[in-house]
Symmetry: C2
Subunit: 503 residues, 2 copies
Amino acid sequence: MKSKDTAISPTRKENYQDWYLEVIKAAGLAENSPTRGSMIIKPWGYSLWENIQSVLDGFFKETGHENAYFPLLIPLRFFQKEAEHVEGFAKECAVVTHHKLEMDDAGKLVPAGPLEELYIIRPTSETIIGDAFSRWVQSYRDLPLLINQWANVMRWEMRPRLFLRTAEFLWQEGHTVHSTSAEAVEETLQMLDIYEKFAKEYLAIPVIKGQKTPDEKFPGADTTYTIEGMMQDGKALQCGTSHFLGQNFAKASEIKFITEEGREEFAWTTSWGVSTRLIGGMIMTHSDDDGLVLPPRIAPVQVVILPMYKNQDDKPRVMEYAQALLQEINSTSYFGGKIRARIDTKEMKGGDKFWNNVKKGIPVRIEIGSREMDQNVLSVGRRDLPARDRLKISKEEFIAQLPQMLEDIHQSIYGKALANLELNTKVIDSFDSFVAYFKDSENSGFASCYGSIESVDQEELQKTLKDLKVSPRCIPLATIEDKGTCIFTGKANQPRIIYARSY
Amino acid sequence: MKSKDTAISPTRKENYQDWYLEVIKAAGLAENSPTRGSMIIKPWGYSLWENIQSVLDGFFKETGHENAYFPLLIPLRFFQKEAEHVEGFAKECAVVTHHKLEMDDAGKLVPAGPLEELYIIRPTSETIIGDAFSRWVQSYRDLPLLINQWANVMRWEMRPRLFLRTAEFLWQEGHTVHSTSAEAVEETLQMLDIYEKFAKEYLAIPVIKGQKTPDEKFPGADTTYTIEGMMQDGKALQCGTSHFLGQNFAKASEIKFITEEGREEFAWTTSWGVSTRLIGGMIMTHSDDDGLVLPPRIAPVQVVILPMYKNQDDKPRVMEYAQALLQEINSTSYFGGKIRARIDTKEMKGGDKFWNNVKKGIPVRIEIGSREMDQNVLSVGRRDLPARDRLKISKEEFIAQLPQMLEDIHQSIYGKALANLELNTKVIDSFDSFVAYFKDSENSGFASCYGSIESVDQEELQKTLKDLKVSPRCIPLATIEDKGTCIFTGKANQPRIIYARSY
């Protein structure tokens, strides 16, 4: 390992896509499964998801949401209720047609018990949850209804990619019902803010908050809001979406309520979700040619202690020291909790053990052996700095500085990602510059330009964009009032849109 | 409500099955869904599952297990690898045969994209996890491998019943790999002990730990261990199982390892699980004719404050008092954590609000209104005592006594359940007494008698048992060495078996 220059091969420059898969493999985050398009999330990857769940679940509950659980299988007739919705998902639905298996004459297992009513595995749950809500909501007193579900969903993907695009993925889907349009919009934007806060403050991913153009919105939504991150190769990743559904699903599912004045009205609904895709975004935002780099606030292990002993005689003394150090670290606080540390007790060569923990992305590594103990120093490595750089520091100083060190790592990787986003976002004012920008593959990033949002123009525009493999990512909320002449159609009074290649 | 004698109708005596469903409905725990056999777990029910997950997950992690996530869909060819396993689950498998939908000429959505490889929705995951394990395990150094998964599973049920038996249910499934048979057996029994501890100490359900008879074991297991609870109608509920799988699945999935001595051997595996069924068990063990009774240690809300004001002028004063009381309660500790309390702020009539909280099963209710405030007393109700009984107690005394009060409630409902189990377990020494015992429907409960465990005899025995609707529940571990003459076959040297009707 040490003979090579980097722990991961290929490097980002050599082949970004293969590098991504190698980072995942080397960290033991996930792997492909024999089920087409579905991944196995390994313990290290799943512990990241557990931390993501725990933080977001806290945010959801603080804002008054409750968790519930709805069926995995959606009757086909429900799915059919909202026309745009069907069109959006019909091409990627797994269909359940039988409820048992039988042996045929050749001794082969075959489906039996054909179902009278067919089911699809939920690609998202608006229709089945809407049906329940139509029973739960009767009066304005029942509103707002604020529900979240943690679940697996399935969208049959033709080109799956670990974490970013898998047939089955894990997510949360919020579904809320309100008595007014304004309140539903407020909820939609509140959840978008929560996603942005989570991306920035926990995953250290800077994101652009924006509104999807009409053709890119969720099938059945009035408005879709998104947070878009920029990966290290300049491509966009949609990290989370929040939908204002208007009365579309309320009408499809008959969610009505009696107002305070005694009128019967359709309710206003929202839905919003983030998924295991966030883990892919985190990997692509921070990792380097030595492997995974974990943001400290979400890292399952923030500090790892590597006992280095040359022989078994040394071991008890080193382990005893490591145990005492572990206790001290575990009783130190960072970002509202005790620091999560562990000792790597695996029996392997020192170098392998060292690189193993680099590749797992643990923010702070401490190597201790007889020499360090004799000198009362720790040899400390930070994952945001070159792996071979070690700081020699006394144990007392280290403990005192550790919370700030973790904070520095968070700020440093966030800062790097923000610089990447800012340096690779270009304001473009002409069609020719737009084409030139995206044709130069060295130059990949975000283009910010006035663009038409009319569907009819989009269709024309799609051809150009398709050739360039570029799509409109969002209308950033920060500049939503900034209007100008569309560089594609010449139409006046159009908003600034971020265009980019994307995952 | 108050005009009736009980809040739930029918009562347990009148119709136990309908009573059970009414308790669930009145507490807002769950409801049937339009998806055949699948339930919707409502927020109050789901919060119970969240607490169950949180405690068990802690126990699993303390004993060295890590969580991971495997595909929902299992390729048919995997499922086929273990013959007994297929036979056990083939009759209740949902089969996925297509991966998209199309409109037919009549404008009807129909399945399209037939799959070359068919999938079943996991009824349990031994086969797909076993395949992953065959790749993860190479050497004795990789062992033990201790994995758990929180997931939804599906077994097509012909007679679904909320929580107890639903087509889709939520559960955890532990899967472990070991280098020796002894270690795998030890793991199997360790997890059984954890289940027993959880049932007793958190759900307040006394259970009998035992071994399943050969014909009742998990399809593919060498030995299945179980914890069996007794519901209030004397029927048994299997609350959790832990399976020693021997080398059966290791052979089917080729899980092999190189021993320290360099030999290649098949590994030894276990699996163990509990599900949302535990919630059904908890309901049936403790609830009464006024509705749900929640064990304090698992209750999402342990104390509810009911502000009672006659008019809106009174409200601010009462609410302020309630808020202050809430803070005091929330900073008091019970069973290793802060007490979970909340104020019921719903605008409804006092009587309705009162009964609503009784039916939700909250262990301690506090009513406060102007009168109580003037006298500096609280009106306190315990869910394990008759709903109309209130204790008048000063606020200071209440706060001081609250932890003990919650503990008393736990002990009291556990004690009642234990008495039910002990009083309705009868040692039976002859075939005639056995038949008489189960024919007298007033007399339902557990029968403990020497029974043959030989499969061939079981088949004969099955006829008798089937007529009586009775099944062997387990060979209790506590008496496993106690052998005698089978009351059914006259065969000597057979163990004591618990027979009962069951859910």
